[in-house]
Amino acid sequence: MERVLALWFPGRSSEGTTGSELRELQHALEVVAVHCPFVEPLRLGLLALPARAPSRFYGGERAVATLLGDLLDDAGLGPVRIGVSEGLFASVLAARDEIIVSVAETSAFLATQPISVLRRSELASLCQRLGLSTLGRFAALDEGRVLERFGTDGVHCHRVARGSEGELVGLRDLTISARLALLDEPPPPPVQPSFFGGSSLAAERAAKAAIRLQHQLGTAAVSVARLRCGHDPGERAELVPFGAPEGRPVSSDPWPGSLPAPSPAAVLTKPLGCRLTDAQGAPVEVTTRGLLSARPARCTVEGEPRTLAVTAWAGPWPVSARWWERRAARARLQVVTEEGVGLLLSSERGAWQLVGRYD
């Protein structure tokens, strides 16, 4: 897992009446980016950067933390709390305590944290009733039992608590880059990414081109892909800004209930609403028993004028996130249109959405 340095600005984690928190975050980002170009905003009052390269350049993690703390104090952006640890989640916790946690100490550090740091109130209250008040005690549970009891998100939290996954889903505010872009500030000063030795000349060339492009189009417009765990093709991968701290490579363990390959080559960032009807024009739904109410014959996708004729379909496959929920909240359906196009639909509370195209 990667060493991550997190910068936390206490008291600026939520937007006040003047909106100064967002501008201050932008300012802090510019100050840090002069020395650490791969710094990334996570949410209001929180920045993170990969620590390895700058710490080699500046002579240690402590030196980088001191340098950044001084610079931010000088810029009038203090107080700032800085921490370094393995992975994004542990480093944010380390920043609260203003400590550098070594690789060897990370799991012990995580184990002492209260269960509430996972930011899952339902899971936290259930754990507390079971007497599992710390991450360490939660991490000691068997993963299979966790899946039974807490569903797939619970397994993710469990892996984070064990330290086998570095980034907690929900830690990032996904809107923060867009909100910063709206501030319409001039781009951060040009940086020399070649300091932070790419693994090769080719990697360095690619990084330089990508960073130049980020200055033109915005940080979030140029991304790299990362695989994650999840049921749906959309959950199984994400695009993160180029240069963002690296998450741990996802284990190739099969994820329970995910669709087998091939996955759709186009996954809609924003799923489109669609209508699935039978030959008589009546809507087709997923029944409580997880079957289709009728044979689908036509599909109309929001914003597309043509109605597609459905010639074949497979599914529905329920996505049961939690076993105790009587009804599957979601189900997926593959349909093939007259033109031979394969589509992946998802049904949630009676409404269909187009989530992917097998292009």
């Binding site: 080719a202 990697a203 060339r205 690619a206 990084a207 330089k208 081109a209 990508a210 130049r212 492009l213 033109q216 189009l217 417009a221 140029v222 991304s223 790299v224 892909a225 990362r226 695989l227 093709p233 199984r236 991968a237 994400e238 695009l239 180029f242 669709l259 087998p260 390959a261 091939p262 996955s263 759709p264 080559a265 186009a266 996954v267 809609l268 960032t269 289709l292 044979r295 074949a312 379909w313 497979a314 599914g315 593959q334 093939v336 249109t337 033109e339 031979g340 196009v341 394969g342 589509l343 992917g356 195209r357 097998y358 292009d359």
Partner: protein, 232 residues
């Protein structure tokens, strides 16, 4: 002695170049440095069995017919071999599918929505990557296309254009792969799942007089891009 020395040399094999002669000769760029590899199956279809650096390839397919899969399949081998690639204008990339097709995500840069800046983004990234997959907007100005083709030639990169028809790119290309028809297998009335897709493709290459047609698994039931066996 005569017999033993001939036995060691394969029939038809050239004797190695005299080291002294090699030292005095001016080396040319070897063939392996002029091309980027493609997977062994697609290599049967493209002239020379590889992607020539500095050239432009057009992949045309109607929406949903498999153009993205074919494009990613074409780049996968070079990506696995350590070359960087970028994808511009694929607004909704299916990352999991790309990984399944063999693309190495560690060396892939995505610019899903470059908006009006697509040509500048492509020119910029051609400075940094060796394979560029570009889905341009509906109408591409001649001048922008010429600049990018020249940049790709200059940087010795491979430019792959993904469009819906031959008209998606206003200039002649070095290699054109078009999907004329495709159909999914393995799925019927509520049974099975989308398992494999058979695509009929037409291959035209500069300097090759007649177009060639082939049927391709895109992907096969085992997840690979593969030429239908009976075609071989």
């Amino acid at each position: 002695m005569f017999a033993s020395s001939t036995a060691r040399v394969r029939p038809g094999a050239r004797p190695p170049l005299d080291p002294e002669l090699r030292r005095r000769a001016t080396p040319v760029v070897p063939a392996s440095a002029r091309t980027l590899p493609v997977g062994s199956e697609l290599a049967r279809l493209v002239p020379g069995g590889s992607l020539r650096r500095g050239t432009t390839t057009l992949i045309s397919a109607s929406a949903g017919a498999g153009g993205t899969s074919l494009a990613v399949g074409l780049l996968a081998e070079a990506s696995k071999a350590g070359h960087w690639c970028a994808a511009i204008g694929l607004a909704d990339p299916g990352i999991a599918a790309m990984a399944e097709l063999g693309l190495d995500l560690r060396r892939a840069v995505f610019v899903p929505r470059p908006q009006a800046g697509w040509a500048e983004a492509a020119a910029e990234l051609l400075e940094g990557v060796e394979l560029l997959l570009l889905r341009p907007p509906a109408r591409v100005p001649h001048a922008a296309a010429r600049r990018l083709v020249a940049r790709a030639r200059d940087r010795r990169a491979v430019l792959v254009i993904l469009g819906e028809s031959h008209h998606s790119w206003p200039l002649p290309v070095d290699l054109s792969l078009s999907i004329e028809h495709s159909s999914w297998q393995g799925v019927s009335d509520g049974h099975g799942r989308l398992a494999s897709r058979l695509a009929e493709i037409c291959i035209e290459a500069r300097g090759v007089p007649r177009p060639r047609r082939a049927r391709l698994w895109l992907p096969s039931a085992t997840g690979e891009v593969a030429v239908l066996r009976e075609e071989l």
